[in-house]
């Protein structure tokens, strides 16, 4: 929202004692964020009132004229001008030679061979209007040679931009007067009352009906005739331009002016077409053409203003073409109403039509503002139209009155929140400056909340504490540490466990952590020719299926990285949605040449084994998996078991799918259930008994025909002997598996005889299981 400091000053007594450039830093920390402060009106100098005395066509141009103007120097000055509205007798803005516009010096120079001494300029060229249709038309009584800034002192202004978002909860700040009230409170100045005109209630009421009183909280109407002057005073035009509105005509401008001044949207209908006003809901599928010429489709929850039985405007959003003020209008029906904030917002959002009016209504405006705004408009209109006639009562339909609020603010609550005992007078003063009424009691303040703060902003003690704290100034509070509480975390957090895993994977195995989206990439699934059905995001056509397989969802990232890398390892710990539940999963993906599949696969297995061993001191097991998803290789799928319970999977993306990502690549995926991992207790480590006698290692190279290592493993597990300290696989060559036994005794050095006996038993066990030894 843009603010004019000239306007703000007019509402505050002794406003000269406020530094209007600097006050905004304070305003930011007391009230709302200021996004910019700009001095305007200083882009030109040497511009004076000049009267066109002679005007003839330029011989070499089809649109330019040669003018002789009187700019108060006693001599006529020759100026060439291309504007269409040049005519003898017109008083306009003239830039003297040596003057500046937009910081550019104006020089005497020939225009198509005719010397032009300075230039006549438009409002746009001066930066006070967007009108560039012609040169400015100044009042006839303006004195020739007078500086434009002397004629229009309001051109010099400071324009301030407030962040609208920081005003969402302050319906009272959507107009200049409300902002002035804040500044007066912050700087301890007096806010001047608005000049309004009371309207006598000695005529007929207008025919106004509210059908849905919970959606239209108040509707005030007034009919005025004999409005002959529909020209907006220059000061209002410049003000509206500075705050971002277009000047149209007096009646339209006044409604906009009131919206900018008080935050109250108003509407002026051409009284000739108004029969009776009804505020009620639309019918589904009806259409209505708004002022901007767009045909809008209506629904049954949109509140409409109806004229007789025809739609007349979308309440609080935008009027229609047929109610527009026409140039020949002399009578007007004024509307000043309050609507339900939520209803207006929904309508505006549904229609994709957020207007200045709707964005104010959706903040919950004070219904008591309607009548003030109307009386203010009457006052301002009357000034320009001394002969206007009010022809109706100020008709006020107000079904449920909004009253002031009452809050008991306990002193102990204030002191607790502020962290110190606050002086009662300070609190009373702050609240009263903000127009709260305060009655001091023993234990509390009885606070009356004005209606303009009571529509949604202020309803509980804490709301008042915010008012006190911000005006008191947060910078005036002393930061204090919390009391120390020595309570230890009951358990290592999942965050830490996740970090520990990722850190280890990055440090030891050179994994790169990535983040991906919680939904599948639609394009990527399409490319892989995989269809997924899971929870969906509403209202989205692409990337709308939530992932139920973390590794699969990473294939998009795999695909993109394969454009730059031949091999890589990535990881993510993320959420998947499975069976309608959140699930944390660790995914590891190893991408390498297809010919190295065995390496990648074994690396994946070893990594998982390592992680569980190091971080949980748990020995995991692998078991063949029945794959849930057909895109993973049927025979290579493994489940990871902890105490016989599945905690994860190792999979290899099927060749037919991998080949869609890149040629001849093998993609190995690990998925570990972090929800289960998190609650796994670390196995305690007990100090082992270590023999002081030497150990003996014995290597056996065993030939496996039509068997896998797991078969050998199972066979060897059954071979029990008290001398075995450990056994392990140390190498594979073709179908020959080398196993190393480490044997020893706690009591003695093994003798040749003991070793021989052991060897015999090994051979016997192997033989019994139809295994033979290699070379």
């Amino acid at each position: 929202m843009l603010l004019s400091c000239n306007r703000l000053k007019s509402y505050i007594k002794d406003s000269k004692t406020i530094d209007w450039l600097k006050i905004w830093d304070t305003f930011t920390i007391r009230t709302a964020e200021v996004e910019g402060v700009k001095v305007v009106g200083n882009g030109f100098d040497g511009v004076v009132v000049a009267e066109i005395k002679e005007c003839c066509e330029h011989p070499d141009s089809d649109h330019m004229h040669i003018l002789q103007v009187d700019c108060g120097t006693g001599e006529l000055v020759q100026v060439v001008c291309g504007a269409p509205n040049v005519r003898v007798g017109l008083k306009t803005a003239y830039v003297k030679v040596g003057g500046h516009i937009d910081s550019v010096e104006i020089k005497a120079r020939p225009l198509r061979g005719v010397l032009s001494n300075g230039m006549c300029c438009s409002g746009k060229e001066l930066g006070i209007s967007d009108n560039h249709d012609g040169i400015m038309e100044l009042p006839n009584d303006a004195q020739n040679g007078m500086s434009i800034k002397e004629l229009y002192p309001f051109i010099d202004d400071i324009i301030v931009e407030i962040d609208n978002k920081s005003l969402t909860n302050r319906p009272d700040l959507w107009g200049h007067y409300g902002i002035a009230r804040e500044i007066a409170a912050i700087t301890n100045h007096e806010l001047l009352p608005l000049e309004i005109e009371e309207v006598p209630n000695d005529k007929e009421n207008l025919d106004i009906v509210i059908k849905d009183p919970h959606l239209c909280l108040r509707y005030c109407g007034l009919k005025i005739e004999n409005i002959k002057n529909n020209t907006t005073p220059m000061e209002m035009q410049v003000f509206l331009y500075y705050v971002g509105m277009r000047s149209i005509n007096l009646l339209v401008d006044l409604t906009n002016y009131l919206m900018m001044e008080l935050g109250q949207p108003m509407h002026a209908f051409d009284a000739r077409v108004v029969k009776s006003i009804e505020v009620g809901l639309a019918n589904d599928n009806d259409t209505y053409t708004t002022l901007d010429g767009e045909e809008r489709k209506l629904t049954h929850d949109m509140l409409m203003i109806k004229n007789g039985d025809k739609y007349f405007g979308i309440a609080g959003v935008m009027g229609g073409l047929d109610s527009e003020i026409l140039p020949d209008t002399t009578s007007v029906f004024l509307e000043s109403a309050t609507f339900n904030a939520g209803s207006i917002r929904k309508t505006a959002v549904a229609l994709g039509l957020r207007t200045e009016a709707s964005s104010r209504y959706e903040k919950s405006l004070d219904p008591n503002m309607t009548i003030i705004a109307l009386k203010r408009l009457v006052y301002l209109l009357h000034q320009e139209n001394p002969n206007m006639k009010i022809v109706s009562n100020l008709t006020d339909i107000y079904p449920t009155k909004v009253t002031e609020g009452q809050i008991t603010l306990k002193k102990k609550t204030v002191n607790m929140y502020m962290g110190k005992t606050m002086d009662e007078e300070v609190i009373k003063d702050i609240l009263e400056r903000l127009e709260f009424k305060v009655r001091l009691e023993d234990e509390a303040y009885l606070v009356t909340v004005p209606t303009f703060r009571h529509t949604k902003d202020i309803s509980i003690e804490q709301d008042l504490i915010e008012e006190i704290a911000r005006i008191y100034g947060f910078e005036n509070l002393d930061p204090k540490p919390l009391k120390l509480d020595l309570v230890a975390d009951e358990k290592d957090s999942i965050f830490n466990q996740e970090y520990e895993l990722k850190h280890l994977l990055a440090v030891k195995y050179n994994f790169h952590e990535v983040h991906s989206y919680i939904w599948y990439d639609t394009e990527n699934l399409k490319m892989l020719n995989i269809t997924k059905d899971n929870v969906k995001v509403l209202g989205k056509q692409e990337n709308n299926i939530l992932r139920d397989d973390l590794s699969l969802s990473l294939m998009n990232i795999v695909y993109n990285n394969l454009k730059n890398y031949n091999k890589f390892k990535i990881m993510e710990i993320g959420t998947i949605i499975k069976n309608n539940q959140n699930k944390r999963v660790l995914s590891l993906i190893i991408v390498d040449e297809e010919k190295y599949l065995e390496n990648s696969y074994n690396e994946a297995k070893n990594i998982v084994k390592y992680l569980f061993k190091v971080l949980k001191n748990i020995d995991i097991e692998y078991k063949d998996n029945v794959n849930e998803y057909s895109y993973y290789n049927e025979s290579l799928g493994k489940v990871i078991l902890v105490n016989k319970e599945v905690i994860g999977e190792i999979n290899v993306l099927n060749k037919s799918y991998a080949s869609k990502l890149a040629k001849k690549k093998a993609i190995v995926c690990v998925d570990i259930d972090m929800d289960k991992y998190e609650v796994l207790n670390k196995n305690t480590i007990l100090a082992p008994e270590v023999s002081k006698y030497p150990v003996v290692t014995l290597d056996y190279t065993i030939i496996l025909n039509n068997k896998k290592y797991i078969d050998l493993q199972n066979i060897l597990k059954e071979f029990k002997n008290k001398l075995i300290l450990k056994w392990e696989l140390i190498g594979i060559f073709e179908n020959k598996y080398t196993i190393r036994y480490t044997i020893g005794s706690l009591n003695k050095t093994l003798e040749q005889n003991d070793i021989m006996k052991f060897k015999e038993k090994v051979l016997e066990h192997l033989k019994n299981n139809n295994l033979s030894l290699g070379e």
Binding site: E33, E362, I465, F474, L482, S493, K502, A506, V535
Partner: protein, 335 residues
Amino acid sequence: MEKELEELKISLKKELEKGKKEADILNIKSLYVGKKSRISELLTKLKDMSNEDKRKYGSLINNTKKELEELVNEALEKISSVSNVSFDDTVDYDVEVGSLHPITIVAKEVTDILKRMGFTVVQGFEMESEYYNFEALNVPKDHPARDMQDTYYLDNGMLLRTQTSGDQIHSMEKFGAPLRICSPGRTFRNEDLDANHENTFFQIEGMVIDKGISIENLVYVMKEILSEIFHQDVDVRLRPGFFPFTEPSYELDCSCLICGGKGCPTCKHSGWLELAPGGMVHPNVLKAGGIDPEVYNGFAFGIGLTRLAMMKYKINDIRVLNSGDLRYLSNFKIN
């Protein structure tokens, strides 16, 4: 005799100097001190000598042999320490190093700080119910934040959480009062992507509940946290803000770290960076968490981890973070 022995030494030295490889030295060795060498020959002859000669030359020959052997050994050692290297010792491979996501690094730093200050680290759910994301947080039904165009609603009646604040409720339900928690996590807003906007980003939520907590406590804690995060004293300022779940609510700005408060494009020339919204926990939120607002109060805050990471690493396009592009991400080595 003496002369011959002396000459043997000199000629051995000359030979050894010529020897380049270990094999050369070994050849020389067998020539000068081997079984068929002149010195061995002299030693054999010694036993045929007169007793007087034996006495005269015995030790001389023996000592000379030792000296010759020493010379050979020295040469051998020298050669093995110089030229025995049979590989290229200048080879220099790139070290393969893994990486952590910048958000992970920043989240770790922030949670470590909060842990030192006595906060318990918790973690919430990305798919959340309307109750925990809005209702329990005092966000009314018709609040703009609940609109479809801001929130990802799901076809199972849940939504993707728009804030980590729901973890305030989960934590109060789980731990009760007093309470000191922080919750880092991923949140979602329905936004069109560009260099500054993401629909998926990270926040960390903080909450303190105890008896008699003041705004002054909040200012102190926030100042501490930010000073620790940025490893320097930062100025903070509070501005009034509005969030349904806190009252009073604040926007917390910290002095711009890029320009030091003088004003620059990053801080939109204000000298301040909007960093951590927060405020005193709204009584309705305490009630929703099963805590009596007449007995306890507290404060809560949020810090944008994505924002912090971008500031820390000077990332100028937010989309990099969820791109999975290793050309960027592999540079975030663990430190």
